[in-house]
Symmetry: C2
Subunit: 333 residues, 2 copies
């Protein structure tokens, strides 16, 4: 029986097939930026369902060959263009074990979309060349898939609240850009001079911190970085903190907020406020987003606004974003 | 029925109780250096058993409160001194959900050991003040626990091969120190001057790379770092590579070695050999370690030898290791 408030057609089609063979476990599999969205997807699933799940880099997944991967498994994969070789290979490996596969891509004719049992499309600014509505992003489609699994396994249908919340997301992002504009303008000249910038987050926001560290700061700006989990921070990494060290802290509003709050207090105690860029869910206008999903959707707002900050840094460094790569998609490796 | 080749008495006692109520899923929970050993433990379990497992920082675990945590869960926790508050709180949370708990510590009277259903002791150089036999380390006890779970759930008893291999580990470590001494002496003066040193690994070795990055380089030397997964490297992080950037690459001999090999080729193509410290399982004398466990035990050799390298760096930086901390265990936070 389809949900009362239908998800995107691709998601509904995948769920209809999966309902005929409900999975006993889930594997979230991708690389880099596409892997980063799997962290909040697993967070969402962990909070709403007892279904066990794993999260792996695609090459690690295939090489590890988890013994638990089999006919009762659902493997959810993502690659923006659908051409990431490791991810397609992972899908083929999963299929060889009898697992069901869902591939999220922007290209329905791509290798990943073609090889998977079910292809779910999404939009990305780079594939369309124009801004998208966040409701059509990879995150949004993935969350629908997860909440479909929750309804299937737990009988708890929150599809209406999710779809209403996703419809309210882009306006919330647009408002956040206004809220944060002055802060970004203030921080950009200082951060553009930094050789090391750490990102810190927990819970639903960790994936956004990971993506910003590896895909934006390292990949596009050649700035050294690490996404530090807000509690792991206290078990080693915090020793690099001093008055000169630059940090970006994401303070969400999910159940792990206290961890980020504690990191905030410590960062401001031993660092300099001018070097600690804090994005806080509590300063955002989240009108229209259901309270049950606010913690899950805020990371999308963080990530979208941080992209604009990244472009400001790039301009100051005279480092053109996507053209700033020296290796990725420029040579064979 | 106890295994033919018994594990350490603490492990046997825990397994005897767990056998009466075999778990349907496992959670590996700790912080920092103790969390780092959970990565290879999960790798070992994934390769030998279909039992689903999760790995969480302890504070994340409690705040996330996974819906799947319940009476059928086994939660394995570790804290060297047994005083890590987040880890003890995680054990208490797991117990409140009806889960079974095993706590690994060096102190049987510690809060973590006291609160858990089963306490498993281990030795650490810092608790005894003298070198230990690696067979009594946290890794060794954890691996016994995991292989006990494998025997329980899969009927595949590899306890003999594991115990024989663990008995051969310390001699292999001692030989590795000799093998690597000249290389460490060569690299130490250069690496001591670096502000950023990355570690790279995959599979069973990722935990050692993580621990060296956050607990040694960042915590004890205030050197910026990140443990980069060997395949994630190609999806962003590799863009920071140039002739001057310092990397430590761990090349193990588990099923993910091809990922580390690929990173090795790329690192040497665009970096400088003098700035890329490679530790390779294939150059080690692993006599006595059963081939089935070589991939799992090599990371202990990497980690032990890298500690000696860290002390060489510390001396050159005039940065006394454990006293080099400014925050950890020096103030309240």
């Amino acid at each position: 029986m389809p949900a009362a408030n239908p998800f995107h057609a691709d998601v509904e089609a995948a769920l209809a097939a999966i309902r005929a063979k409900p999975p006993a476990r889930v594997f979230f599999v991708a690389c880099g930026g596409s892997l980063s969205i799997m962290y909040p997807a697993k967070f969402l699933l962990d909070q709403h369902s007892a279904l066990p799940s794993d999260l792996f880099n695609a090459a690690e997944f295939t090489a590890r060959a988890p013994k638990g991967l089999g006919k009762d498994s659902l493997v959810i994969l993502c690659s923006m263009t659908g051409t990431t070789k490791e991810t397609t290979a992972a899908a083929e490996f999963a299929l060889s074990r009898g697992a069901q596969t869902v591939g999220l891509t922007t290209e329905k004719n791509s290798p990943l979309a073609t090889v998977c049992d079910h292809a779910v499309g999404f939009e990305a600014p780079y594939s369309t060349g124009v801004p998208i509505d966040a409701m059509n992003s990879n995150y949004a489609r993935l969350y629908q898939l997860v909440m479909g699994l929750v309804a299937m396994t737990e009988g708890n249908d929150l599809s209406g609240a999710l779809m209403t919340s996703l419809a309210a997301l882009q306006p919330a992002i647009d408002r956040a850009h206004v809220t944060l504009a002055a802060r970004f303008a203030d921080f950009a000249p200082r951060f553009a001079k930094e050789d090391v910038i750490y990102t810190v987050a927990s819970g639903a926001s960790f994936g956004a911190a990971y993506s910003f560290a590896i895909c934006v700061l390292m990949e596009m700006q050649w700035i050294n970085s690490q996404a530090i989990h807000a509690n792991e921070f206290f078990h080693g990494p915090f020793e690099v903190l001093d008055k000169n060290r630059a940090f970006i802290l994401l303070k969400g509003c999910d159940s792990t907020r206290a961890l980020e709050d504690r990191a905030d207090t410590f960062l401001h105690r031993f660092g300099s406020a001018e070097n600690i860029l804090v994005l806080d869910a509590l300063e955002l206008d989240l009108t229209g987003i259901d309270p049950v999903f606010r913690g899950n959707l805020v990371p999308l707002i963080f990530f979208d606004t941080l992209w604009r900050f990244a472009y400001q840094i790039a301009e100051l460094r005279q480092h053109v974003m996507l053209e700033g790569r020296r290796y990725m998609k420029k040579l064979t490796y």
